[in-house]
């Protein structure tokens, strides 16, 4: 098979993201939202679809939807309508899901994605922003709906053939955010998701943690011959549950579709699932008998009316958006565009930066340490910043130790893995590991003398005007002092002694 289907076909991707909203209580019931409880321990009769229960809309959810609308340059609709989507499933307690269908709360928005021009995938915690182009991705709509409960089918978990049903999640508020089919590669799809997630977290609309099921993604994928304007038949990839899988799943689906098209076959409309084990997609079910959800306005809920006043209140209380933050970082802290872009790429990084600065680190050094060493370390440990043990204050004091000459930059870098994994005070750690810089000039003089004596030939060639061996000699001294000597001082002493 041809390994480069995208040379012949253009892929058209649209994403549907379901994101849990950050509220205390559910969309239509006052039951609490908690993760990890025992089954059915945070349910209200409303969440169980008991006879006679009625929904009442959570006000905070409306504010969060408005916030998303404002953050995505979208229209916040003055009137939106809750509809019933009718189907039977064990985790759907009422036999219908309350959702918005013809009149969603938010429509016609866009966000910008940063796309690396190099083939390398961007780093986990920050896009590699050196060579990027930005692209605007349309958001068709965002609508409110209730989440379903959980059906546990796994025989190993349930201990039998039966399905166990838990309604703790039933009724948790969701925003379904539907993109335009503007995405043209798996990488763009990944970039869109990261960017959207970053915005959601910035504006505190959602924690959007994929592993908690708070941020879920379906992808509509179709191929068309390069140069063609006509859209191909699309398939829908359901419930892709990690960022890594999104790009892999779309790539696999592209390969599957391309193979069919190459053989002169036709794509059949279907719902697909991606299996990370095999790296392939498979048909979950065909869409030939299109679902008949019998949408109609929910008679228990009157249309939602949003006034200008409410929109203005939300606007006034809106957390700073990534773009605004980038501009402020450049003007307030004098950061380069490069550093600022990296630091705003997620809310946690930006907050960490500002906290470290407030703890006394100079903005420029904090930015340097974060964008190079800290991010590299996080990537190596496969950790998100929030999961790391290092505090902003610890980074600030690490930087201060270097600035005071008590710790060499190299030693500081050596301490970083421990700080990231274990946390703790840099100064205490430095002392425990015996990495405090050697400032004892007598000791350094002694080592320099020994190194020069052992390398007389090199000393000669330096004296003859060849500076190259100097670095080697420095390395020898540093090695002998276990990196604790101040490199500037070592160099100065070496030159002094050689040149006499």
């Amino acid at each position: 098979m041809n390994r480069q289907p995208l040379a012949r076909y253009e892929v058209v991707i649209g994403l549907e993201v379901h994101t849990h909203l950050k509220t205390e209580s559910k969309l239509f019931s006052p039951a609490p939202i908690r993760y990890g409880d025992k089954p059915n321990h945070n349910v209200h009769p409303i969440d169980l679809g008991m006879p006679g229960v009625l929904p009442v809309l959570n006000r905070e959810v409306v504010d969060l939807a408005i916030r998303l609308g404002l953050a995505t340059h979208a229209v916040v609709n003055k009137r939106s309508v809750f509809s019933r989507k009718n189907y039977f499933y064990p985790d759907l307690p009422k036999g219908y899901q309350i959702s918005q269908y013809e009149e969603p709360v938010v429509s016609d928005g866009w966000i910008e994605i940063e796309q690396s021009t190099s083939a390398k995938a961007p780093a986990k915690n920050a896009a590699s922003v050196a060579d990027t182009v930005s692209k605007r991705i349309g958001i068709t709509r965002a609508h409110l709906e209730e989440d379903a409960g959980k059906s546990i089918h796994d025989a190993a978990v349930a201990g039998s053939d039966d399905t166990h049903v838990d309604f703790n999640r039933a009724g948790v508020p969701l925003l379904e955010i539907v993109s335009e089919p503007d995405l043209r590669s798996p990488a763009e799809a990944g970039a869109y998701l990261r960017s959207l997630r970053s915005i959601l977290r910035y504006i505190e609309v959602s924690d959007a943690e994929m592993e908690k099921g708070q941020f879920r993604c379906d992808a509509n994928v179709s191929l068309r011959p390069r140069g063609s304007e006509q859209l191909g038949t699309r398939t829908e990839l359901k419930n892709i549950n990690s960022f890594a899988n999104v790009e892999a799943a779309i790539t696999a689906e592209i390969a599957r579709q391309a193979a069919i098209l190459d053989d002169g076959g036709e794509i059949v409309q279907a719902t697909m699932a991606y299996d990370p084990e095999t790296g392939r997609t498979r048909v979950l079910r065909l869409k030939e008998n299109a679902d008949d959800y019998r949408y109609f306005d929910d008679p228990d809920l009157i249309p939602l009316i949003i006034g200008d006043e409410q929109i203005e209140q939300v606007r006034a209380a809106m957390p700073e958006l990534p773009e605004q933050k980038r501009e402020r970082f450049q003007s307030e802290y004098g950061l380069s565009d490069y550093d600022a872009r990296i630091l705003i790429s997620n809310r946690a990084l930006a907050d960490f930066f500002e906290q470290a600065t407030r703890a006394g680190g100079s903005p420029k050094s904090v930015a340097n340490w974060m964008s190079r060493d800290l991010l590299r370390e996080l990537n190596e440990c496969d950790l998100e910043l929030e999961q790391a043990a290092i505090t902003p204050a610890a980074l600030a004091s690490l930087i201060e130790l270097v600035a005071e000459g008590r710790l060499t930059a190299k030693s500081a870098r050596d301490l970083l893995p421990d700080l990231v994994r274990e946390g703790g005070e840099p100064e205490a750690l430095m002392q425990r590991r015996g990495l405090e810089a050697v400032s004892d000039s007598g000791l350094i003089d002694g080592v320099v003398g020994e190194v020069l004596a052992a390398n007389a030939a090199l000393v000669e060639s330096i004296r003859d005007g060849d500076d190259k061996p100097l670095n080697f000699l420095m390395g020898q001294v540093m090695k002998a002092t276990q990196g604790k000597a101040n490199p500037g001082e070592v160099r100065r002493k070496l030159i002094e002694k050689i040149r006499g």
């Binding site: 006879p51 006679g52 009422k94 008679p299």
Partner: protein
């Protein structure tokens, strides 16, 4: 002493205790069970305990409301925590509610004593109380005839003197029509007046809870206690509740009563019924009301509109009865689909299945616009009819039903003819208006109801006109001969 007012007087005078009233009501419910089948579940012990508390309040002079200490029955579709609610359906035969409906809470704080649950058409779908797992309730005026429905049990309980009042629900006439058939007063308030929280839904945009009693004044007392804004119901009206009884001045001078020309054509309606209603209106005219002819031009379309809207909503409202979390699950099912299909097929009766199918059909792809959306548009036209009519009059008077109570079994094979009997009542639900049915005489020994409709939120004027009628007539004092 079987009216609410008489029981109130008796309690206040110390002639009788709440315990006695409750014990007597329970005994009468049992006594009439075989012949009338009105009450399908009694909570004797709890009711007696509550009556004893009411008697203590009486001693302490801490009367909670005019309903304090008075027994009643609830239609079996309003939930009470720890008590069964069946909706007269096999699918809910063992259901026990984990929470209270708002009306139950309000009745409790008014001191009223719920003695049990009354029969109904399954899920309130029907006009005869024949479609019930408990079997049909019978009309105390002629036990071969139906008592109407779907709130037949509550109507019969009041008509036969089991309890002096009862609560029913009205989606297309389900309070007014059985009130008419059994010779009692039945009222449907403005949509949103009484909270639907805990009322098992049939058609959410039409359902409304209301009272049965012998007099308009008593209905005003009851409504005062059960009405009012409820945050748990998004369609509850956020307006204060007036003291409805205060509005009952007996004065109708200056009031204009509209007679819709389309309701008085003798096509399909019993001429004797129409004559009694005309006579009732004449009574009010002689008391000083002005009578004008009005037009409700879309009357011929209301039954079709109603059945499309109501069944569409019902098909969705009844999807939750799937055998998964509560209610009946068919035995021996081995997979999910089987559980759904068999539980629902065994659990629902024929009329409910018919309406679920109709509602599912009119919402399904390809038919939505032609039926459901069309019906919603005609609903707009029907509302417009009433808006215009109420520019010319304050209250509309009509027959409640085209005929007196029909014989049990007469219409069970002909759903369309059963549905067409609702022609005078469904409009009030489509337009959300308050309506009341009052006894206005007998035809061939069977009661006839006069319906009055009012403006939305204006129960006061409606009740005033209806009360004025009762002050001048004694139709409401008539009792079924065998059950008085």
């Amino acid at each position: 002493m079987e009216t609410l007012e008489a029981q109130r007087v008796g309690l206040d005078a110390g002639d009788v205790s709440s315990r006695e009233l409750v014990t007597r009501a329970v005994a009468r419910a049992r006594e009439l069970a075989d012949r009338l089948n009105a009450v399908v579940g009694l909570r004797e012990e709890a009711a007696c305990a509550e009556a004893a508390e009411a008697d203590e309040r009486h001693v302490r002079g801490q009367l909670r409301s005019p309903l304090d200490g008075i027994p009643l029955v609830l239609k079996d579709n309003m939930v009470q925590c720890g008590e069964p609610t069946t909706c007269a359906s096999r699918i809910l035969e063992n259901f026990v509610s984990p929470y209270d409906s708002t009306v139950v809470e309000r009745l409790r704080s008014a001191g009223a004593v719920i003695i049990g649950r009354a029969n109904m058409d399954e899920f309130a779908m029907g006009s005869s109380t024949e479609h019930s797992i408990f079997g049909p309730s019978r009309n105390p005026w002629d036990t071969d005839r139906t008592c109407g429905g779907s709130s037949g049990g509550p109507a019969v309980a009041v008509a036969a003197g089991i309890t002096p009042f009862a609560l029913g629900s009205d989606t297309g006439g389900s309070i007014r029509q059985p009130a008419s058939f059994t010779g009692v007063v039945g009222m449907k308030p403005t949509y949103g007046r009484v909270s639907r929280w805990g009322l098992v839904a049939f058609a959410s945009s039409l359902d409304q809870i209301g009272p049965f009693a012998h007099s308009v004044r008593e209905c005003a007392w009851i409504l005062r206690e059960i009405a009012g804004h409820d945050r748990r119901d998004s369609t509850s009206l956020p307006f204060p509740v007036p003291d409805f009884a205060e509005a009952l001045t007996g004065d109708v001078s200056g009031l204009t009563i509209g007679l819709p020309r389309e309701y008085f054509v003798e096509q399909g309606a019993d001429p004797e019924v129409l004559a009694l209603v005309r006579a009732g209106v004449a009574e009010l005219e002689s008391a000083g009301a002005k009578v004008v002819e009005i037009s409700l031009p879309h009357t011929g379309y209301v039954v079709a509109t109603y059945y499309l809207v109501a069944t569409a909503e019902a098909s969705s409202n009844l999807a939750r009865y799937d055998g998964a979390r509560y209610g009946r699950r068919a035995s021996g099912v081995t997979n999910l689909e089987q559980m759904y299909r068999r539980s629902r097929s065994e659990g629902f009766g024929a009329e409910v299945k018919r309406r679920i199918l109709l509602g599912t059909y009119v919402l399904s792809a390809g038919y939505f616009d032609a039926y459901y959306r069309k019906a919603q548009q005609v609903r707009t036209l029907v509302r417009g009819d009433f808006e215009r009519a109420f520019e010319e009059c304050d209250v509309i008077a009509t027959p409640t039903c085209p005929e007196v109570a029909f014989e049990i079994g007469a219409k069970t094979d002909d759903p369309v003819s059963m549905y067409l009997g609702d022609i005078y009542t469904v409009s009030a639900n489509l337009a959300g208006l308050p309506g009341i049915s009052l006894p206005c005489g007998l035809v061939r020994g069977m009661p006839v109801g006069m319906q009055m409709l009012g403006r939305a939120m204006d129960e006061n004027t409606l009740l005033r006109a209806a009360d004025a009628f009762q002050r001048r007539t004694d139709h409401h004092a008539r009792r079924p001969p065998e059950f008085s």
